[in-house]
Structure formats: structure tokens, C-alpha cells
């Protein structure tokens, strides 16, 4: 196989991979926080998730830990944890302003610098920016898609004379 023919087939592999992506967490939690605290905006994932990496194991920001300390274990427990957080006037970043007040003021409860939560969005990563719908392909499906495309290409190559 020449480099030219390989480069002609590469877009197919990449296309399959990109079609299978992206798989991101369904944004269930921010609206719950917004509704309960009457924020008027959905707080970004990075309020709870370390470096904006969304999975249950990454709820490790100070605000995320404060919610865990108050019983957060999943979506059902979030309202109760938020109520306890508000009742306790929890201040995760120690700047003297309670977390719930900070969220209503559009400032990050993890940041002593009182960074705005609405002026600048969380970062985008990778090549895809679309927020997917529920049921988007899983990483395993992405992997299978790429492996399948590679297999298909290899078989086509074997069948091609010369």
C-alpha cells in the first residue's frame, strides 16, 4: 500500500471515529442546582467536577466535596445535599461568602478570586464541541467502530488485485 492510497483511506477511518463520538455525560445536575437555588443559569460542570472532567469519581472540587459531605451520592440526593449546604452557610473557598450566595452572584464557590461563572465558559476539549443527546455512542462503541473500520480497510486491501 502506498502512502497515497493510505492517505486516501484515512478520512474514512477518521470519519467513522468522529461519527461515533462524542460520548459525554448527560447534563442532569446543573439544571437541578439552577432550579433549586433559582439561579437563572445552569452552573458549569467544573463547579463540582475537577478540571471539568465529568464522572462521579471526579466530584472532587471543594464545592463537590462539600456536597458529598452533606449526602450527595447521585441525582436523587442532590436537592437534600443542596438544602443542607445552604442551611450550613458552607463556604468552600473560604472567602467569607457562602457557596449558595456565590452561585446566585454568578461567582465560582471554589475560587477565592471570585471568578465569574457566566462571563467565560468552561474549556472545550478535543475536536468536538457538540453536546450530545442521551444514548450517544459509548467509548467502547467508538473503539469498536475504529477497529471495525481498520479491519474493513485491511480486507478491502487484500481483495484488491496487485
Amino acid at each position: 500500500m502506498s502512502l497515497k492510497s493510505l492517505s486516501a483511506r484515512l478520512p474514512l477511518v477518521l470519519g467513522v471515529a468522529l461519527l461515533a463520538a462524542p460520548a459525554r455525560a448527560v447534563p442532569e445536575f446543573p439544571p437541578v442546582i439552577a432550579d433549586q437555588l433559582q439561579l437563572g443559569y445552569d452552573p458549569p460542570c467544573s463547579v463540582c467536577h475537577f478540571e471539568n472532567k465529568t464522572a462521579s469519581v471526579t466530584v472532587t472540587t471543594p464545592f463537590g466535596y462539600a456536597l458529598r459531605d452533606r449526602g450527595l451520592t447521585g441525582r436523587e440526593s442532590l436537592p437534600g445535599a443542596l438544602t443542607r449546604l445552604a442551611d450550613d452557610h458552607a463556604d468552600s473557598d473560604g472567602d467569607g461568602v457562602a457557596d449558595t450566595v456565590e452561585l446566585k452572584d454568578h461567582t465560582d464557590p471554589n475560587s477565592r478570586a471570585n471568578a465569574s461563572l457566566v462571563d467565560v465558559a468552561d474549556p472545550n476539549v478535543g475536536c468536538s464541541t457538540a453536546w450530545p443527546s442521551r444514548g450517544a455512542a459509548t467509548p467502547l462503541a467508538q473503539l469498536l467502530a475504529v477497529a471495525g473500520a481498520a479491519l474493513m480497510l485491511a480486507r478491502r486491501r487484500r481483495r484488491t488485485p496487485g
Binding site: 493510505l6 471515529a17 462524542p22 460542570c45 471526579t58 478570586a113 473503539l143 479491519l151 485491511a154
Partner: protein
């Protein structure tokens, strides 16, 4: 005209990669075995007089793909031998348990690491988390004369990883390099692990997390020059930013460097330094100039015991706020009473600055029970400071790790 040696080798390698049998083998390895990966950075290998990383790893600063010699050593001195002589290398030490022989110049590896964790924060009950794809990665390196090209592809356990290519597809490393002066120097361009401190697999240790120099996804794009001489290894990197994150404001730019001197076969002393600036810090969400400067050491007074320590001064400057000076430290003892069975005791502290000290302890064990495979159990207890709060955080972690 005969093809250029580089082209010939590249195409033969690509043909192999596209061969159905090879693809099936990889698929089998990922989905059934699911146990892939290069042996990670085991800084405690200094107990076997290996102060240099490049003896076993292609990366002169350690971690990642293994050399052929590194694979042999992982079989001879890393895994449990169950009575068989350590000097006999098994045929399974090669890639895919020796089932596939890479063509000359191509090195392949990969790893798979599922994790189960119980986490308790404060007064809350334990919460369970299973992360089946904690680490799933394939990596390859093509070496032709002095040219080198390295690429890792994997799947992240979370969305939003800083190593993401698309969705949860990630590439932690991708670089091209050129060896100079009999490969004592290696010049690299691309996404590279930051040279800083003890290169350990425990990416959540405060010395790694606070300096943002872990092996998980804090690699940066830039240009790095590594030196690997007798008794001294060093690397300096000009950081251009992580170009897998947008917008540009989030990209940190600066430098990172690390140098280690082997004062004795089982004693290595090192220094590290890092300074970066980002217009919008990932964590603080505001402009931030941060520095980390530290020392680290590895010492094996007795073969079954390795002591490793690191201390880093942390400086953080955000506009409108006083400069914060903090400290992150770690001391770890690795005890290997029987070959292949490790017990680790780790103490660590973290003070971001103007806050009380957080401290924690880890008790762990790792059993390299078979070629390319180990299980690891960790119990972690931390007392962490968040603003005015001090929260106890307890975690029990079980991991299986298999490398190709």
C-alpha cells in the same frame, strides 16, 4: 528506485498494523484480555541499581513504552517468579505476551486498568464507584536511525479530559524526536509528559496534582530536550500549551525542567522547576501565574526497601490577590519482601498557602502475579482543608492492571 529506508519501514509497519490478524489480536487483547499497556513508571526500580530510566523505557525521563531490555527485566525482576530462577526470561515478556513480534524499529505497548473505589467524604457514608475503563491505551513508537515518532491512543474514563481528541478518545502523548550525539540527547516536539519530580503512577498524590505534572492527562505540547548521561539525566521543556483545550486562554505557557544525579547505584537526587502562565486558569478561572520548585530523592538502603521523597514549593499569583506560597510534599516507602509483592506506605502534605495544612496517608500493596499483570489495593485517608472546613476523606481503591 529503491524506497527510502524510512518509507520502507514505515509502510511495513503500517501493513502490519492494518493486517486482519493483527487487528484481531489487538481487539482480542483490548476486549477480552483487556489487559494492555506498557509498564508504567516504577521509580522504585532503583533497588535493582536502575537509577536511569532509559535503561527500561524509551522515554529518557521514564514511563511509557518499554525497551526490549525493559520487557526482559519486567519478567525477571518485577513479577513474582513462584520459585523459578529470576535469570530466565519467559517468552511471554514480549508484546501481546510474545504472540506478535514487532518489526525492527517499531515498539508497541498498551495497558488496561479497571478500578473499583469506595469513597467517603466527611460524615457521609461510603459511596461506590466502578470505573471499568480507568486506563485503556495503546502506544507505539517508530525509531528509524535517530528519528523517533511516538503516539498513544486511548479511552478516558471521564468526559472533558485534557488529553481528549474527540469524545472520550484521548491521546496523552504524540511527539516526534531526534537523537543527538549517540542519542545521549533527545530533542522532542509534540505532546509530552512534563519533566518534574518523581514520575510515579499515583497521579492523585498532592505533589503530582498540585504541580499538575501527573501521567494522567496533564501533558503539554511543546519542545523538550532530554539528556541522558552517565550518572545524570535531565530534561527541560518549553511549554507551548495544551492544544487539546480551547479557547487559548486556558493554555498554560512556560517551562518545566527536571534533573537527577545518581550519587550511588541506589541513590538518586533530583531538582525540578516549573513556571507557567495562563490567561484563565483551569481551576481558578482567572489569570494565574504559577510556579513549582522542588527537590526529590530515591534511595534503596537495602534491596527490599526503597525510600522516595519529594518536596515542592508552590507559588501562585493571581491579579488583585496577594501572592500565595505553599508546599506539597511526599515521602513513600516501598517494601518488597518477596519478588513481585510490594507494600507501600506513603505520607503527604499540602498547603496551598495561607491555609492550614492538609495531610494524608496511603497504605497500599501491589502484587505482580503474572507476566504483564498486577493487582493493586490502596487505602487512603486524608484530612483536607477546604476554606474554613477540614474534611476527612477516606478511599479504598482496587485496581487490576495488565499491560501488553
Amino acid at each position: 528506485m529503491a524506497p527510502h529506508p524510512f518509507e520502507e519501514l514505515s509502510l511495513s509497519s503500517l501493513r502490519l498494523l492494518l493486517a486482519p490478524r493483527f487487528c484481531l489480536a489487538l481487539l482480542f487483547a483490548l476486549l477480552t484480555l483487556s489487559f494492555a499497556g506498557q509498564a508504567h513508571a516504577y521509580a522504585w526500580m532503583i533497588r535493582h541499581d536502575y537509577s536511569r530510566c532509559s535503561t527500561c523505557h524509551l522515554d529518557p525521563s521514564g514511563a511509557g513504552l518499554l525497551t526490549d531490555y525493559g520487557r526482559d527485566q519486567s519478567d525477571e525482576v518485577l513479577r513474582m517468579r513462584y520459585g523459578s530462577p529470576a535469570g530466565e526470561t519467559s517468552s511471554t515478556s514480549g508484546f501481546l505476551l510474545g504472540l506478535v513480534k514487532e518489526p525492527s524499529g517499531l515498539t508497541l505497548g498498551g495497558q488496561f486498568r479497571p478500578m473499583f473505589m469506595e469513597l467517603k467524604v466527611g460524615s457521609a457514608p461510603f459511596a461506590s464507584d466502578t470505573v471499568p475503563l480507568m486506563q485503556t491505551e495503546l502506544q507505539g513508537e517508530l525509531d528509524v536511525r535517530h528519528f523517533r515518532a511516538n503516539l498513544s491512543l486511548g479511552i478516558a474514563p471521564t468526559d472533558g479530559s485534557g488529553a481528549a481528541i474527540t469524545g472520550r478518545f484521548i491521546s496523552r502523548e504524540h511527539w516526534v524526536g531526534y537523537g543527538i550525539s549517540d542519542d545521549r540527547f533527545l530533542l522532542r516536539v509534540g505532546r509530552i509528559n512534563l519533566p518534574f519530580g518523581v514520575r510515579s503512577i499515583e497521579h492523585t498524590l498532592w505533589v503530582r496534582r498540585a504541580t499538575r505534572t501527573d501521567l494522567n492527562d496533564t501533558q503539554q505540547h511543546g519542545v523538550a530536550l532530554a539528556f541522558d548521561g552517565s550518572g545524570i539525566r535531565a530534561e527541560v521543556m518549553a511549554i507551548a500549551g495544551n492544544y487539546q483545550i480551547r479557547p487559548d486562554a486556558y493554555r498554560e505557557r512556560g517551562y518545566s525542567l527536571s534533573a537527577e544525579y545518581a550519587a550511588a547505584p541506589r541513590l538518586a537526587l533530583g531538582v525540578s522547576s516549573l513556571a507557567t502562565h495562563a490567561a484563565r486558569d483551569l481551576l481558578l478561572k482567572t489569570s494565574n501565574t504559577r510556579q513549582a520548585h522542588g527537590v526529590f530523592a530515591r534511595y534503596a538502603p537495602w534491596e527490599p526497601l526503597v525510600l522516595m521523597g519529594e518536596g515542592d514549593v508552590l507559588v501562585q499569583h493571581t491579579p488583585g490577590s496577594p501572592t500565595l506560597v505553599g508546599l506539597a510534599s511526599m515521602l513513600q516507602a516501598d517494601v518488597e519482601p518477596i519478588q513481585g509483592l510490594h507494600f507501600m506506605l506513603t505520607g503527604e502534605t499540602y498547603t496551598p498557602g495561607k491555609q492550614a495544612q492538609s495531610y494524608g496517608g496511603w497504605l497500599g500493596s501491589a502484587w505482580f502475579f503474572a507476566p504483564h499483570a498486577d493487582v493493586r489495593l490502596d487505602f487512603m485517608r486524608r484530612s483536607e482543608i477546604f476554606g474554613p472546613m477540614r474534611l476527612p476523606v477516606t478511599a479504598a481503591i482496587a485496581q487490576l492492571h495488565v499491560y501488553l
